[in-house]
Symmetry: C3
């Protein structure tokens, strides 16, 4: 139970630090070689949104969200320990973004699920793999297929 | 604490499987003779929305949501163990539905609380009773009294 | 872990009793001398929203929300025990208010974080300090700086 609570707080930090645009803190939530797939959120078309390190993910996100206000919320986590130092989890999510004036897209609203794997190294849990799948995504109020 | 976590994940599956339209999985979240009252969600008037078995509930919901996209989120559960194999809980909730083109109602947005009872049979927790009470419900953007 | 769960349910009651307009119950969630700062929510300008007792907070909120329908949801808590009978926490939040007809403001939507301290007195956890910071607040659909 203590491990599950630690992983709960790990993901809570992900949401909070992302919305605070604390890029150093956000990076620290992930394992260095984390595999991340948020292609379902891509504003500018398919092919983007897949990353093989936390550095490339945070670098891209920090540029994409420059000047934006974001709200990312997570819900009803299902966390399972899969080994002494490994775990998996699913989180429901909802996000809203207001991009700055002059951006090609001004607002984003979406909902989906994060499918994740976690690992503990040197006593600290981190996100090892994160995939975002969406049930609905709207840009400027229009649904994207 | 382990029982509370199990019940938390049980309700998390309810939300996830409902939005995935996994009707077999959703059914399995409930006790066979579960009493379910979601009449506060009824799109087509009073008198509907009360069920005395999981089969009748899932059958109706699966037809109602055919072709729809749904987002059901749960929040800030208050779970109390009431016996060795029984528990009660309250969950805040928010839901959104987009019905398919041609439907009499195209969008639903609402918020409320699930009041629930759980029981453990053969080592598995299930929802025994579920009542949804709403503080606000909008159909096509118009509030329903 | 049991203490963390108790604090989780304490804050869950805060959200539920506020939206039920159960003012006696809401008051009981706080320590009598709780310090509360929700100035980021203030509808009628700066200078309001800071309270040095639960009574003054609940008295003001009960008048402000008279006749309104409200939805307050909390997410992804990060609770840390800081002593035998003290703890701190951060909660993400989203709120919606529909004020009654004739009010100067008709709708509020916002998101932010509660930063809180808790204390246990006579075996019961209570909120000792609550500060709400927002990332976004809209009144009648218009963002407030």
């Amino acid at each position: 139970m203590a491990d599950i609570e630690e992983i709960r707080k790990l993901k809570a930090r992900y949401f909070r630090l992302l919305d605070h645009q604390d890029w150093q803190g956000l990076s620290d939530v992930f394992a260095p070689d984390a595999r991340i797939d948020v292609s379902s959120s891509t504003v500018s078309g398919s092919g983007r949104g897949v990353y093989s390190s936390r550095d490339s993910f945070v670098d891209t996100v920090s540029k994409l969200l420059h000047g934006a206000v974001t709200v990312h919320h997570g819900h009803t986590e299902e966390i399972e320990l899969t080994g002494a130092d490994s775990a998996s989890g699913v989180w429901a999510m909802e996000d809203r973004i207001w991009f700055p004036e002059g951006s090609p897209v001004r607002t984003l609203w979406g909902a989906g699920w994060y499918e994740e794997e976690y690992e503990r190294v040197d006593g600290r849990w981190r996100i090892k793999r994160m995939v975002l799948r969406r049930q609905r995504l709207e840009l400027d109020g229009n649904p994207i297929d």
